[in-house]
């Protein structure tokens, strides 16, 4: 790999990593409060993409001005965020809450989430067709500046900036607000938190909403970068989940770090080993990291595991 190639692949890698980080936060937050893999989170991501596709198709803009572009992007964020949050909220109500009320075994949650994921993705395939739709980008995707001769496009800047803003916002939300304190309390010990007057159901609902909001927006950003399709959530979903685990699941900053790491690894493995191996590399890194740090990079006390 030449130096030039390094820079050429570094920038898309950062953009991809930022996206993974945002999705991984959704996994890690749900894991934090429920100790469950939210297998349907990839579908939240997909719904975000489709919601924006529908709105943009309805508006049917053509070569918008700069002000209009900004408005459209903001509209895209709002739509995707709303759709994602709504889907995540509904998912929690349908696939998680009834099971929680019955004190169901852990694996039952996993299966109901998988079922919901099958349902949503195939329903989307039926409603919108099983081919990929390209999402019209509401601005001219030209290069903004170059770093060591590698181009940086508007879209990449947008992705990285919005991801960073979302992550900072989330960090503040979790660490500085009353709601964040509730989330942390439930994550640490749900029963005790309940005895202390935290409304556990509400906290869990809100956690899903926050995770879904980020997931939906990530879906919109991802759709601009590639396309919208009913299986679009699958690979980003499992990679982001891997990222959450690499960082130490349940740990929000770990998820950000893990996402960035896997994004870079995936991007760099294309020139190093060939395009077709890019998905393998992320999992090889995952396994290597877990072999040496069984609880992820930033780690997290995992029960009584030695």
């Amino acid at each position: 790999m030449t130096v030039q190639e390094f820079w050429d692949y570094l920038i898309p890698g950062i953009a991809l990593g930022a996206l993974y980080a945002v999705i991984a936060i959704g996994y890690t937050m749900v894991y934090g409060v429920l100790q469950l893999i939210n297998f349907a989170h990839s579908e939240v991501f997909m719904v975000g993409g489709f919601a924006v596709l529908m709105v943009f198709t309805k508006i049917d803009f053509n070569d918008p001005s700069v002000g209009m572009s900004v408005l459209l992007v903001l509209l895209g964020f709002a739509t995707a965020g709303f759709a994602g949050a709504g889907t995540a909220f509904a998912l929690e109500k349908v696939a998680y809450r009834p099971l929680r009320k019955r004190n169901a075994p852990r694996l039952a949650f996993l299966i109901s989430a998988i079922g919901a994921s099958f349902l949503l993705s195939n329903l989307a395939g039926k409603l919108f067709g099983r081919n990929n739709h390209s999402l019209t980008i509401p601005f001219e995707n030209k290069k903004v500046f170059t770093v060591m001769n590698a181009q940086v496009t508007v879209l990449q800047v947008l992705i990285v900036c919005s991801a960073v803003i979302m992550m900072i916002g989330l960090d503040l939300l979790v660490n500085r607000t009353k709601m964040g304190a509730g989330i942390r309390a439930v994550a640490q010990d749900a029963e005790t938190a309940g005895l202390m007057g935290v409304d556990i159901d509400k906290v869990i609902s809100r956690t899903f909403i926050v995770g879904g909001l980020l997931g939906g927006i990530a879906g919109f950003l991802f759709a601009m970068n590639s396309s919208v399709g009913y299986t679009m959530g699958f690979f980003p979903g499992i990679t982001a989940f891997a990222a959450a685990v690499v960082g130490g699941i349940g740990n929000v900053r770990g998820a950000m770090l893990g996402g960035l790491l896997l994004g870079l690894v995936e991007s760099f493995s294309s020139p190093l080993f060939g395009e077709e191996w890019r998905y393998v590399s992320a999992f090889v890194v995952l396994i290597l990291v877990l072999m040496f740090r069984p609880t992820g990079i930033l780690g997290e006390r995992l029960g009584r595991t030695a």
Partner: protein
Amino acid sequence: MSTITRPEADERDMVVMDLAKLRRVPWYRQPRWTRLFGMVLAAALLALATGPNASTDDIFFSVNESMTDGVRLPVCIALMVAFWAFFEFVPKAPVERAKATARANTVDMPAWQNTKKAFDKTPVKLGALAVVVVVLAVLPLFISTRWNQVLVGNVAVYVLLAIGLNVVVGWAGLLDLGFIAFFAIGAYSTAFWTGSLPTKPPVELNPFLAMPIAVVTCLIAGVLLGAPTLRLRGDYLAIVTLGFHEIVYLIANNANGFSGGSGGATNIPHPSVHLGFLDYEWELDPKPYWWLIMGMAAVVVFLFIRLEHSRVGRAWTAIREDEIAAAANGVNTVKYKLMAFAIGASTSGLAGGVYASKTGFISPESFKLMFSVLVLAYVIFGGMGSIWGVMVGTALLAWLPEYLKDWVDENDRITYLGALLVIMMIYRPQGLIPSRRRKRELTLAKEGIGDADAMTEPAGGRIA
């Protein structure tokens, strides 16, 4: 017999209603009416799911059509509201009520005991088993070729797989999301030793001789995956096995020189027996394969039942319940965990070998991650830990999509399967036929004693 009393279901509902009155919760936030709202939303979903398919040029076509076209939406809403009204307002029949009370008041369900006691006698059990085996053995003679193909290609192969996964997940409590990887390894090594891959083996073997090699290969693969992941628990293990699956899948898909790439392997020979007096070759007809796989499954099931009640099976249970306590009591957790992985993997390899030589053609398409997830879903659906439950559940769920083919668009089958899984997990999380031990664990957990599932230690998760 321990009896633990608890408030009846209705009583609890009453309490909730009284609380609602005390707190002055507005009517639209009371459970009954939120449930109605949910039902209306479910009706919209139903209308969308049963509506027309998408058209290529207008992405709104399908949504618009199914929402506005004719009476679809009103009918769906009426149906769901009727459901709601039935469960909310029609009083339960007195007999049902008495049964529910009896069930609710005791953990051990005495209402069942008489029938169960009769069934538990060994001769009765063996007789029932014999009847089932005979029915299954003659089943292919009475159904069409298409259903025979389904029976062998989907049901039988997946039942074999699910029996294997049940050892890993149901007994040892190790969450494996990449089980189909071993199926693929089994199928590919059978293809390799029969000389159907681009890379040629030193000697080309009959599939019957290749299958044991495939089983051993899977066993080794199982240990290789198991060894580095022994320190991991629960969900960490899940993601590693998932990653392992993806690695195997992508190698099968990309290593053109070795595995034939996305085209896969073709012309894998059918198994045949040439043993002096016995000379038989399995060909295209699916029926003989059914008997072959039934024989294999019978042997495997027999061995596994012996295993379940042996020292090994008890060690697995101990590990599943509490690994630390098991280790403290002298269970060699490393050995037994590896054993579970290896045994599960080799069963999967056997299924892979049969599958490869039956279809004569394999490609990475048959080993996608979705199938790993599906097998796990089958095991949980059937009732993990109970070998009979797993077999019945898998057979049912593997058959259902094929049956749905006659009724709905082929691409939509997974939608219904997903809905079924969600509903099943809400109303019967223990699965179709739960094992006796799991049933007890679950009932106790409902009473608030212990955990239903020691699969993953509560992580003490915190959001930092």
